[in-house]
């Protein structure tokens, strides 16, 4: 009951701000969801989209050639997991190449790109940051759990890319702004 109440309150708050700012909802449906860095954070964002009733196709390893105009939004769950990369059978270098190719193709298709970082400090560091930088540079919007931005890394990248950055306190608060981004 408490959870339902909290979810309702969050959605009401976000919908309220969406009505106040017409530009809030800008992303088209359905979305393509992928993991950049192969962390399990992907699974949690998948749950958030499902609960928000946003239609999406989930593919942790989707390649550029598999993007097409039928899915106007690309959501990147970014954060490196060496274990996840190993399990997926992909090197960090190959993952970075896949990411850059995806971003290039998304631009050609005029897709909306949203970067989501939910893993906090545990999903920062040299490898994660090498994925985060190109994603932020090519994104239209970013949603980040604050614990991952304690050094202002995302704030700086968002300013450089001139994109909106939504910082949230907890992972459970990512769902509301993410869902609200969709038209």
């Amino acid at each position: 009951m408490k959870r339902i109440g909290l979810i309702c309150a969050l959605f009401v708050a976000v919908l309220g701000s969406a009505y106040a700012q017409q530009t809030t909802a800008f992303a088209g449906k359905p979305a393509v969801l992928t993991a950049i860095g192969q962390s399990a954070d992907f699974e949690m964002v998948k749950v958030l989209l499902t609960r928000g009733k946003i239609p999406f196709k989930a593919d942790t390893l989707i390649k550029a050639e598999n993007l097409d105009a039928s899915s106007p939004t690309l959501i990147l769950v970014v954060g490196a997991s060496s274990k996840g990369l190993g399990a997926a059978g992909i090197s960090a270098e190959a993952e970075l190449a896949r990411t850059k190719a995806l971003l290039k193709r998304a631009k050609e298709l005029k897709m909306i790109v949203i970067t989501v970082h939910v893993g906090g400090a545990a999903r920062r560091g040299a490898m994660s940051d090498s994925f985060i930088e190109p994603c932020m540079a090519a994104s239209d919007y970013a949603i980040v759990v604050e614990a991952g931005n304690q050094d202002g890394f995302f704030t700086k990248l968002a300013a450089n890319a001139n994109i909106a950055l939504k910082l949230v306190e907890r992972i459970s608060a990512v769902g509301a702004p993410l869902v609200a981004a969709f038209k």
């Binding site: 408490k2 959870r3 909290l6 979810i7 399990a40 954070d41 699974e43 949690m44 998948k46 749950v47 958030l48 997991s81 274990k83 996840g84 190993g86 399990a87 893993g119 906090g120 545990a122 907890r170 992972i171 459970s172």
Partner: protein, 364 residues
Amino acid sequence: MKRAAIVLLAASLCLGAISAQPSTNPDVHGRYLINHDYRPSSSLTKTGWLSDYYPGLLGTPGDSKVYYFEGKTPGGTLFIGGGTHSNEIAGIMAAVTIIENLKVDTGRVIVVPNLNNSAVSHQDKEPSMPAYTSRGPSWIGLDTPSGRRFFKYGSRATNMAHQGVPDPVGGYVHPDSKEAPLPAWEFRNLNRAYPGRTDSGLTQKIAYSIMILLNQEKVDLAFDYHEADVGGRLANMMVANPKNIDIAAAAVLNVDLDYGLTLKLEPSNMEFRGLSHREWGAGSGAAAFLIETPNPAMAQDATDNADVVNDPTNPLGSRVATHLAGTKAVVDVFNETNPEKSIVFSGLPSYEQLLEKGVGPYLK
């Protein structure tokens, strides 16, 4: 005729005398074990032993008590294991808290508080074993409504004296692993031994019995409660077999929303063999999970006097609360998607109660 009657009478007297003799086979269950002071709730249906699943454990220090709680309505089966590593005391105490408070309405709950019962018998400090694995007290004391009670704190590994087979020279390699050898003592680490085998050491036999239990009891959800080094990668984490990572992801979000409890999430590494979440999930029908909480005695800079009960940052109450909250969240998500296999229970202290008062007040 008279002689025949006398013979028959004598024979029947002898048979009667034989059947009246007390059994000459004493119950050897738990013969070498510490008699843990666990006081189950009135909802306990029965107790059994791991040796019921693999008789080769009978009378050995690897046998361990199994507690069964059955609801009035049929449903799914939840398995809770503590004490894979006996120095990870919050896992044991979370299982004991369940045993002493649980009321099951629908389905079944099976609890083994000391999966590796041999490991409670020692705190060996072996040269190749990291210091964090063998620090801590021999017992912990908790103030409960019935007075002060004591619970055994042990080692990460099976007692070398019980294993029956020497640690392998050159290191331990899981029979199905293609990875480099682990330190030799890992041969006695239950969480490197699954699915176990009967022609090896005691640790491997314990693992084997647990796999039989999971399959024979048709367990739907299985938890292995652990602890990790404070501030390390594993602390406050839920690990899930890839086949049930979706349930874990939803549960992790729910504990974040409900309690402000942040748990990291990782899938099992399918190449790293022998771990419970990997092998339970692959070798049984159970959705397999492991929860890690931060144990103050396992911090890299911990001293031998680390307070594993009343540490101001990570007290026992908060660690047990994390195990129970994570478990309940998984069960709730499972019930939403599998209503025909629901597991419904009550009676456990709440997350907030455990944070506020600790574990002792919620034991008998």
